[in-house]
């Protein structure tokens, strides 16, 4: 068997480098060493390194929350993608493609427009509830005893996204200027407005889903054999499916509430990881989490740098990279789809 002892050290090194790169990048030039000192000062609450107050302020309130939010959301979306692919027994399942992100965005939009001033947590809750309902609807539409149909899965996604789009369109019409800005941001997906309370919330969601997904990894492997086979192995299939759908809705809902719709991370990352280490969920899920964090943080660095001093919504960057990849996967599966 191939020795993969190199994998964890190298991917974690890459994560640290990406983290530093993200903290250094921005319109205000802050030297890498100063940035590092500022992070140390922030982490220890001590003045260990010399950093100008305005630089410390930028690191504390802008760059660190932004980097951490990109990483937690990337790790969450990548794991939710991997789990949905296992649950649907289909490598094309992704929260964005099958419409779950759109549904969650509609839930968030309803909260922000119809219940203004109800606070960030209620927006997250709205996104979670709508994400949960959407996942259940898509699962119902696309599943049969023999698995899920790719065609039905994608068409369900199109239908849900269209419905959610119409709902968000209607809310846009009703919204005031402030809400309108937020709605536009969501639909594009952006980490620019990262706030600490969303970092905390998405970190808590990430810890919860990572722990529970990892505990379910053996059962998820068994589920790939088919539902009847998983039952014969002793898996409580219905309980497992409900638990995973619930956790995906928590992960995607909170991610969407925090950053808007960021597509393709959940599709691309697990696929790359499967090519390197195989499909066993026990290894796939943690590695996907780290790679998802790296890729979304890098995409955000790209979003900040490509048209500097202005910036692109990060959802646009992930779509530009992910959509061709999706087309490539569709071509690969073409014979099975027809």
């Amino acid at each position: 068997m191939e020795n993969r002892a190199w994998l964890w050290p190298s991917i974690l090194t890459f994560l640290v480098i990406t983290c530093l790169l993200s903290i250094v990048t921005g319109p205000l030039q802050i030297a890498p060493l100063t940035s590092f000192n500022a992070v140390l000062n922030w982490a220890t609450h001590l003045e260990l390194g010399a950093v100008a107050p305005h630089e410390q302020l930028v690191i504390n309130n802008v760059r660190l929350p932004r980097t951490l939010l990109a990483m937690t959301v990337g790790a969450t979306l990548a794991q939710c993608g991997a789990v949905m692919q296992g649950l649907f027994r289909n490598p094309l399942a992704d929260p964005g493609i099958i419409g779950v992100s759109s549904g969650a965005a509609l839930g968030a939009a309803i909260c922000i427009v119809l219940f203004p001033g109800s606070g960030e947590y209620s927006v997250a809750f709205g996104a979670f509830i709508a994400g949960l309902i959407t996942t259940l609807v898509v699962y119902r539409l696309a599943s049969s005893s023999s698995g899920t149909s790719v065609v039905l899965l994608l068409l369900s996604g199109v239908a849900i996204a269209a419905l959610a789009g119409a709902g968000i369109g209607l809310l846009t019409y009703l919204a005031d200027d402030m809400a309108l800005r937020d709605l536009t941001l969501w639909q594009m997906g952006s980490i620019a407005g990262a706030q600490w309370q969303y970092v905390t919330l998405s970190l808590l969601a990430l810890l919860l889903i990572s722990w529970q997904f990892y505990r379910s990894s053996k059962a998820l492997n068994a589920l790939l054999l088919g539902e009847a086979e998983a039952r014969h192995l002793g898996v409580e299939v219905d309980k497992l499916k409900f638990k995973l759908i619930f956790l995906c809705a928590v992960g995607v809902g909170i991610s969407v509430a925090a950053t808007g719709i960021i597509g393709f991370i959940g599709l691309v990352v697990p696929h790359i990881v499967r090519m390197i280490i195989g499909p066993d969920h026990k290894r796939l899920l943690p590695i996907s989490a780290v790679l998802g964090a790296i890729i979304l943080a890098l995409a955000d660095v790209g979003a900040r740098s490509l048209v500097a001093p202005s910036e692109l919504p990060v959802g646009l960057v992930t779509a530009m990279l992910g959509a061709p990849f999706f087309i490539f996967m569709l071509l690969k599966q073409k014979n099975r789809l027809i």
């Binding site: 790939l224 039952r231 014969h232 002793g234 195989g278």
Partner: protein
């Protein structure tokens, strides 16, 4: 071992099994036979708790099946599916390791058990091969290794259910799988239940043949007493030619 008493099953309000009474002993191969729609697969599914009984009860070692929790039952009763497809490219040893799910073993013990089952089914050379690239016969052997792994912590004689295990296999593979089923029953005291279409295979490998017609048992016993021209004509509406070939314990049917 397994006792089926007065079992009836309806699917979509249609009776599929009616008042089935059957004893399945350990150490024997019980073959379920009958034309399409006779209820063979439903009977197998009622043993694996995939269908709800309308009436009657099934006990395993005098304990009703529904009293077992899923993990406990999985240690004693395993099902080899007709064919199991996997969308993702698991390696052969990973598929076999899925059989460890209900067991309580350390990862080292688990790996040893997987290696043991791989070697038992002559799959060691394919250990790291990707499952989707295997031939139909190889896939079936891998699934059998997985199912046997699952039964390694059974406290009492385990039950192995095989649903048309030979349908996707060539001639040699068919005989290999059925020989192994017979060996498990005779040498390792497994209770083997197998759904078959081929009467000659049933007569060669089955110790107790159960013939079903329209959800009812019409005959059961050894091949010599059950596979009679009258029964075959009644159940399959086909008049067979029966040849007593030299060297064959059971008659051949054409």
């Amino acid at each position: 071992m397994i006792d089926i008493k007065h079992v009836s099953v309806r699917i979509n309000h249609k009776p599929v099994l009616t008042n089935i009474n059957l004893h399945i002993p350990s150490g024997k191969v019980t073959a379920l036979l009958g034309p399409n729609g006779a209820g063979k697969s439903t009977l197998l599914k009622s043993l694996s708790q995939e269908v709800q009984l309308d009436a009657g009860k099934i006990t395993l070692n005098d304990r009703p099946l529904q009293d077992f929790d899923r993990l406990e039952l999985a240690k004693h009763l395993a099902v080899l599916p007709q064919h199991a497809s996997l969308t993702f490219p698991f390696a052969v040893h990973e598929v076999v390791a899925m059989g460890l799910y209900p067991l309580t073993l350390s990862s080292k013990q688990g790996m040893e058990l997987v290696d043991e089952q791989l070697s038992r089914l002559a799959l060691t050379s394919l250990k790291y091969r990707s499952y989707p690239t295997l031939s139909g016969g190889e896939k079936q052997r891998v699934q059998l290794a997985r199912v046997l792994t699952q039964l390694q912590q059974a406290q009492r004689p385990p039950v192995l259910l095989l649903d048309e295990p030979t349908s996707a296999l060539d001639l040699a593979q068919q005989h290999r799988v059925l020989s192994l089923a017979k060996e498990l029953a005779h040498q390792h005291n497994y209770a083997v239940v197998v759904v078959l279409h081929d009467l000659n295979q049933a007569s060669r490998y089955g110790d107790n043949l159960v013939i079903l017609e329209r959800g009812q048992i019409v005959s059961q016993g050894p091949a010599r007493t059950t596979l009679t021209p009258q029964t075959i004509k009644q159940v399959w509406q086909y008049e067979p030619q029966i040849v007593n070939a030299p060297g064959c314990e059971t008659p051949l049917l054409f």
